[in-house]
């Protein structure tokens, strides 16, 4: 699968708009992604390891319900396919 980034998160993935990851669940993909880009973890996750409420995820262009990706166990149960695309969006930033 691939992650697609835009906006406020781009600088935490060294401005790579698309990052391909070869894993089977959303959680494993995210962990692999954060190994590659360690600065992303604090930007994306809160102190409990949950995706911050201010970020939204889309699977192949469709919004994913927050409950499906917010905590690690839910993400581990979320299977992804090779040709899936997960877009992570920051709704607002308080600059």
């Amino acid at each position: 699968m691939k992650f697609v980034f835009s906006g406020a998160l781009l600088r935490f993935v060294q401005f790579e708009k698309e990052v391909a990851i070869d894993r089977n669940t959303l959680e494993d993909c995210l962990r692999r992604l954060m190994l590659k880009f360690p600065d992303l973890e604090r930007a994306l996750l809160d102190n409990q390891g949950n995706i911050r409420q201010t970020h939204q995820m889309f699977l192949n262009g469709e919004a994913i319900e927050k409950g499906v990706y917010s905590d690690a166990s839910a993400r581990q149960a979320f299977s992804v396919e090779d040709d899936d695309s997960v877009y992570i969006l920051t709704a607002i930033a308080g600059g």
Partner: protein, 280 residues
């Protein structure tokens, strides 16, 4: 009125015809920040102490009297501030004066947001804590609800359409603020180049009022931000009605989902008003 101070004029603030809208909005933002520091606390302290910030939801500029670079050496800015809707919105009204005359009035509405604490400065809508509420300055009552899209629909419904134009751009860091999202004060710049392209490419002389005359009024509303590197498209329609020429702009983000679908999301709408027969 809460804050009053003097601003010396420089040539980059002006076109040959008037104070640039971006300059008017920048002055308004500076004045609003000054007033906030007097009534609540400095914006940077609000960030550090309460993890609160503000994002813009609307702006308006009224060009009241002729005012060019040669009109004065400096202006006086009188700034007023009020809280709306249970402390969720902040309204800043700023009168730019030459002597005792208000020549331009620039206002904006901000929404308070609470930052998550992450380094991306990501945030969600919030309210100013009640212990920080303040007495509002006197200002004309203007409803805080979004209404510009409805106004645009009315103009479209009951007017003659003169032309249309569209262009795309990718947001540059030079056009962004602290969180790598667009500087709201730049919106007039993003949309006015589409108006000008339409005028330069069209043979309709009525459209050229959009370059020959000063802008009489500017209104805009924001719905979501653009971020650094986002691709956006600006669509502009020109309409004429009752002695006024309107340029109706929308700015949409192109979402990077599926090349086949061309999905977009509305980020902002803006309306520029021009008088056909008389300059401001």
């Amino acid at each position: 009125m809460s804050a009053r101070y003097r601003v010396y004029l420089d040539t980059c603030m002006f076109s040959p015809l008037q104070l640039q809208p971006t300059a008017a909005l920048r002055l308004a933002m500076n004045a609003g920040t000054e007033t906030l520091s007097q009534k609540v606390m400095e914006l940077a302290l609000l960030h550090r102490k309460h993890r609160l910030s503000v994002v813009v939801t609307g702006s308006r500029i009224k060009y009241i009297k002729p005012f060019t670079y040669f009109s004065a050496d400096f202006i006086q800015v009188d700034s007023s501030l009020a809280l709306l809707r249970e402390g969720t919105l902040l309204r800043s009204v700023n009168q730019l004066k030459v002597g005792h005359d208000t020549v331009v009035e620039a206002e904006f509405i901000n929404r308070f947001v609470k930052m998550s604490g992450g380094p991306a400065l990501d945030a969600a809508p919030a309210a100013l804590p009640r212990e920080l509420w303040f007495e509002p300055d006197d200002m004309a009552d203007v409803p805080a609800q979004r209404k510009l899209k409805a106004q645009v629909a009315l103009i479209r419904q009951d007017s003659e359409k003169l032309g249309s134009a569209q262009y795309s751009f990718r947001l540059s860091r030079d056009e962004c603020e602290l969180a790598d999202q667009w500087q709201w004060v730049m919106l007039p710049s993003f949309v006015s180049r589409n108006r000008e392209s339409m005028i330069f490419d069209s043979g309709d002389k009525r459209l050229s009022v959009g370059l020959r005359h000063p802008i009489a009024r500017w209104e805009s509303e924001w719905f979501r931000p653009l971020f650094l590197g986002n691709e956006a498209q600006v669509t502009t329609d020109a309409h004429i009605k009752d002695g006024m020429l309107f340029f109706l702009h929308s700015v949409e983000e192109k979402l990077p989902f599926d090349d086949q679908q061309d999905k977009t999301r509305l980020c902002a709408v803006a309306v520029e008003h021009f008088c056909l027969t008389q300059d401001v």
